[in-house]
């Protein structure tokens, strides 16, 4: 952490995300208005003192909706990546450690998954089952673990020839011990980088789905569906699209800066 401070951009990314997380957690106290409160007389107001980022077609405060939307976006981002990292780590570790036919089967499965266009798979599943926040997290997670699996496998392949791993074998350590104590802890650095970048990607996926109307369903606010609603009024209310757009941009950028920072730190070690 101390060394991360040396990278100014990574620090900016981390601070931005920390601020965003605080705001999302404290949404109830930070948001100036109820995000769901319809107030038709105030519909489509430009940013002003009462509504710093203006209002939408139903007179709801855009700022408050963005703040509550941050909760959803971050939640989906973290849980989806959590699922992806878990699956990817297990698959990658098994393939890398045992090799042979298990490796061949698992990696061909990864190749197959990678050859399916993710966004269409997402759309198809959600169209069949029906949209819900939980489903979105799971589906994004289930379609984005392959990169992690490849990464973990590659790390394990190079680590398992290292002498400290051989030393554990000589001592008679079980495979479970070798994997969990010696291989995975040393393989997690690059995974952390990929996970950090992945959260940004997952938030982006959520936004795309919500924008297409298949993600988070109104009236629950998410950055994607605020953007979608704003699209209709693009000609008259620019703030409705600009504000969520900037939120998505800033957050994804912040995750990328932080991820790059961690990567640089690891490569210097």
């Amino acid at each position: 952490m101390k060394a991360l401070l040396g990278n100014r951009l990574a620090v900016i990314g981390a601070l931005t995300l920390a601020a965003l997380a605080v705001v999302a957690i404290a949404a109830r106290w930070v948001a100036p208005h109820d995000p769901l409160q319809v107030n038709l007389p105030d519909a489509l107001l430009a940013p002003c003192r009462a509504y710093p980022l203006g209002t939408d077609q139903l007179g709801r405060d855009v700022l408050s909706r963005l703040i509550y939307g941050a909760r959803i976006s971050l939640l989906i981002g973290f849980i989806a990546v959590g699922i992806a990292v878990s699956i990817g780590t297990v698959v990658g570790a098994l393939a890398g450690f045992y090799g042979g036919w298990l490796d061949a089967i698992l990696m061909r499965f990864v190749d197959t998954m990678l050859s399916i266009p993710t966004i269409f798979l997402l759309l198809a599943i959600i169209a069949v089952i029906g949209p819900s926040i939980e489903l979105i997290m799971v589906v994004i997670g289930l379609t984005s673990w392959m990169g992690v699996a490849r990464l973990v496998r590659a790390e394990i392949l190079s680590l398992k020839e290292r002498e400290f791993v051989l030393a554990a074998h000589v001592l008679g350590a079980s495979s479970w011990r070798v994997i969990t104590k010696h291989l995975l802890p040393n393989a997690m650095g690059p995974v952390l980088v990929s996970a950090t970048l992945g959260v940004g990607g997952a938030i982006l996926s959520e936004s795309v789905l919500s924008y297409l109307g298949l993600g988070v369903q109104p009236p629950t606010p998410s950055w994607g569906n605020i953007l979608n609603e704003g699209r209709i009024a693009l000609g008259v209310a620019w703030w409705l699209t600009l504000a969520p757009g900037l939120c998505i941009l800033t957050t994804v950028l912040a995750f990328n800066l932080l991820g790059e920072g961690i990567r640089e730190r690891l490569s210097r070690q």
């Binding site: 002498e163 030393a167 554990a168 001592l171």
Partner: protein
């Protein structure tokens, strides 16, 4: 006639070279070719040879990291490869290994204490306070200050790391210690100290030592017997003094000249 602690009978390891897109067999490489050697309590055997002569593969066969393609290794007269699970663990305990590269041979994420506790945990040798006490004893045996227990490998010098590697091997009270180029990547003075330490440890416990090195000088200063390996075969072996003063094989002669950096006797090849 004392019983052999470690006994390798005509062990061979051949690799199949594969070439081309279809991985056709392109001949075999005999990394280790019908090697027979045995060690009894108190023995110190030096194994010399140049890079690629198969000495590391032989060492890995002896500790069970590599399965021989022919021949067998017996520990106290029993074959570890054919032993039951629990029996194998106790046989593994008898033969321990010290690796060449002290940077590589310790898990970078484990403290010295954790590294030294692991063998005790694997073999269920000591628990709780007794284990901590044992770790302290081990540190003392390899002449490391107790304050180093909490350190990570990167906070140690090369020589200190190699001492930790030795302590890890000694933790399970092995009867045979195999050291593969333990001083090759250390400074001369540090290497000399490690040799000194090895000499003391083996004399104290009558631990049999197989010392593998390309450096005839180091081998001669430590071992009572020397075996010379070339292209996978043991070409000559005998008591150190006799072998060095009256080498029978021209290659041994060549190695001796190389070790003394004799620039004036012309060499063929």
């Amino acid at each position: 006639m004392t019983e052999a602690l470690l006994d390798a009978r005509e062990v061979s390891k051949t690799y199949h070279r594969r070439a081309g897109v279809f991985q056709r067999d392109a001949g075999t490489i005999r990394a280790v070719d019908q090697v027979t050697l045995s060690l009894t309590a108190g023995d110190t055997l030096g194994l010399v040879g140049e890079s690629g002569c198969g000495k590391t593969t032989l060492a890995k066969i002896l500790v069970g990291l590599v399965a021989p393609t022919a021949g067998a290794v017996f520990i106290r007269g029993q074959s570890a490869a054919r032993a039951s699970r629990s029996k194998r663990l106790s046989l593994k305990r008898a033969v321990q290994f010290v690796f060449q590269d002290p940077m590589n041979s310790l898990n970078p994420r484990m403290t010295v204490e954790e590294t030294l506790s692991e063998p005790l945990a694997i073999h269920g040798l000591a628990h709780g306070d007794a284990r901590r006490q044992r770790v302290r004893e081990l540190l003392a045996r390899v002449q490391l200050p107790l304050t180093h227990a909490g350190r990570l490998p990167r906070e140690l010098s090369g020589g200190e790391r190699q001492r930790v590697g030795m302590a890890r091997a000694l933790a399970v009270d092995p009867e045979v210690l195999i050291c593969d180029e333990p001083i090759a990547s250390l400074d001369v003075s540090v290497g000399a100290q490690i040799l000194e330490l090895l000499r003391g440890l083996c004399a104290q416990q009558r631990t049999a030592l197989l010392f593998i090195s390309h450096d005839l000088r180091a081998v001669a200063s430590l071992c009572h017997r020397v075996a010379v390996m070339k292209e996978g075969r043991l070409i000559e072996s005998g008591p150190t003094e006799a072998l060095l003063t009256h080498p029978r094989h021209p290659y041994t002669e060549l190695l001796i000249r190389a070790a003394t950096l004799d620039l004036d006797t012309p060499t063929s090849k």
